[in-house]
């Protein structure tokens, strides 16, 4: 029984060692940053605290496509109010553009009819025309 216990103990220890992170120790490539995050950081840099920023991304569904871009924008735009242009029922809300100060358009092929503030990293920041 003692031999069996030793065997089982060793098996648990061996099976418990997860080497996934150890393998990455030899990977010296720099960490990556999402292009969308780089775009949002530029948006944060070019908009004042408290500004309302509509998130314009052409996706059909809210979950998971638009939700990803919207939630990520809420995270990357601290102190600004990220405004969704789509709701969880997949309905578009273009009327919300009337109440925002800025529009962050990501990967949008068609330019929006507003004052362009900056373009880069696959996106454009607009100030809403008044």
């Amino acid at each position: 029984m003692r031999f069996l216990a030793g065997l089982v103990f060793a098996a648990i220890v061996v099976c418990g060692i997860d080497l996934r992170f150890v393998r990455e120790l030899a990977d010296f490539r720099p960490g990556t940053t999402l292009q969308y995050d780089r775009f949002l950081r530029e948006v944060a840099r070019r908009t004042p605290p408290g500004a309302s920023v509509a998130i314009h991304v052409s996706t059909r569904r809210f979950e998971p496509d638009y939700a990803y871009y919207y939630y990520r924008a809420v995270y990357q735009l601290p102190g600004r109010r990220a405004i969704p242009l789509k709701d969880p029922d997949d309905r578009d809300h273009p009327e919300r553009l009337a109440d925002v100060e800025y529009i962050a358009a990501w990967a949008s092929a068609t330019p929006l009819p507003h004052q362009r503030v900056w373009s880069g990293n696959h996106g454009t920041l607009y100030r809403r025309a008044r």
Binding site: G6, I17, F21, G31, R72
Partner: protein, 432 residues
């Protein structure tokens, strides 16, 4: 990061000395981090407005008060434990986790949509932003979730002067390393180093940035202290687990149930510190009407509907794989082979079983799509209980391997300058 970590330890160390005089150096270090992180979150919760100056002043004032009591109670440091070769393996796993956690951008949805997001919102607001939490559009961030981790993120970022995703990844590693120091100390010393190496990957959560790591740390620490009959520390740790995730609240209930099932009825009321620590957030949450989605709406109807889909549920559950399936197979085989000895660890095993039952109940009442919820949460939830389960099984198997010779009181006394307040039940039985 270093300034904030130093403050966490300065605050945690006197607490650790006051609460666990018998602690070895390793345990004291791990305990200092866990208690300090919990205390920092409670300080931030209590302060209406934050700035680096006011927060640092509050932390230092509190730690000065604690030190004024703790310095009289010099901890009973034992001899420095010489590292075992297996300890270097554990250290390698910790270092590798730290490097991975700090070099990658956070791709975990729950970090930037829940835990990190709220930390960043609180940091920007310089306090708990109740208006933001109460806004229905922000319900996706689960405003009701306990804020210990988010508050710690805000603390580290505030003291560093900037929000840095990569650096905050280190918090996950620190919680894992802290509980490993405790686990190393709780294992029977004859096989502690190897056993700690075997469970290290369970403490070092692959879900970097999420609340899994602190929950595993506080939950496991709580159960191990309760197992050793250090009830106050065990209850406090469970209370901090309840300040970390809602699963921590059910863990308190599971531990209470397990105490009762293992014949320790009298210890159940002594878990009150867990509720006292968890209470402030729960009261504030109720005051601000931040509901838990699992309990909101027609719960009974949802349970009935989800139970009707049980074949689909169990089919999806069977398709789920734990993070380390080979380890789970090894643990299950060990439990079958040494079933008659498992009674020695019945408290921990009952707790794990009850907590898993709570998870099933949570799935039954989910307002989300049942299969989706299962696919996104099952492996994580299972992992929360893996460390205490592996600890219990390895303790049973290790003792069998060691010829059933429990640590004697003499050995325990040699390890600590003064004997521990209480040895585990089986230790006391065998040494009396």
């Amino acid at each position: 990061m270093i300034v904030a970590l130093t403050q966490v330890l300065i605050l945690g160390l006197p607490l650790a000395i006051l609460l666990d005089r018998a602690a070895s150096r390793l345990r004291l270090l791990g305990l200092s981090f866990l208690l300090g992180s919990g205390a920092v979150s409670l300080v931030l919760l209590a302060l209406p407005r934050w700035s680096p100056v006011t927060v640092t002043a509050a932390v230092l004032a509190l730690s000065a008060m604690l030190w004024s009591v703790a310095w009289k109670r010099r901890p009973a440091f034992g001899a420095i434990v010489r590292p075992h070769p297996a300890d270097y393996g554990t250290l390698l796993l910790v270092v590798a986790h730290a490097r991975a956690a700090t070099r990658a951008f956070f791709d975990e949805w729950d970090f930037w949509a829940i835990w990190g997001l709220k930390g960043r919102v609180f940091l920007t607001h310089r306090g708990i932003d109740w208006a933001w939490l109460e806004t229905p559009a922000n319900a996706f961030a689960h405003p009701d979730y306990p804020p210990l981790l988010s508050l710690n993120y805000a603390f580290y970022a505030m003291q560093a002067g900037e929000w840095n995703d990569a650096r905050l990844g280190l918090v996950t590693t620190l919680f894992g390393a802290a509980v490993l120091l405790l686990v190393r100390d709780f294992f029977d010393e004859r096989f502690a180093a190897w056993a700690t190496l075997g469970v290290a990957s369970l403490a070092l959560s692959p879900w970097v940035g999420l609340a899994e790591a602190p929950l595993i740390a506080y939950g496991t620490a709580g159960l191990l202290f309760l197992r050793s009959r250090q009830l106050l520390l065990g209850a406090l740790m469970l209370g901090l687990a309840a300040c970390t995730k809602n699963e921590g609240l059910t863990l308190v209930a599971a531990a209470a149930g397990a105490l009762a099932l293992s014949g320790r009825w009298r210890d159940v009321p002594r878990l009150w510190p867990a509720l006292a620590v968890a209470a402030p957030w729960q009261v504030m949450r109720a005051f601000h009407a931040l509901p838990t989605d699992l309990l909101a709406g027609p719960v009974q109807q949802r349970i009935a509907a989800n139970v009707a889909r049980r074949s689909e549920f169990f089919g999806a559950l069977a398709a789920e794989r734990p993070v380390q399936p080979e380890l789970w197979i090894a643990l299950l085989v060990a439990m079958l082979l040494f079933a008659r000895h498992l009674g020695r660890e019945r408290f921990v095993l009952f707790t794990v079983a009850l907590q898993l039952a709570f998870y099933l109940a949570a799935f039954a009442s989910t307002p989300k799509d049942l299969t989706w919820h299962l696919e996104t949460a099952a492996a994580r939830l299972l992992e929360q209980m893996a460390l205490p389960l592996a600890f219990a099984v390895l303790s049973v198997v290790g003792v069998e391997y060691g010829g059933n010779r429990f640590r004697t009181q003499k050995e325990a006394t040699a390890k600590y300058a003064s004997p521990p307040r209480a040895l585990p039940e089986h230790d006391r039985r065998c040494t009396s």
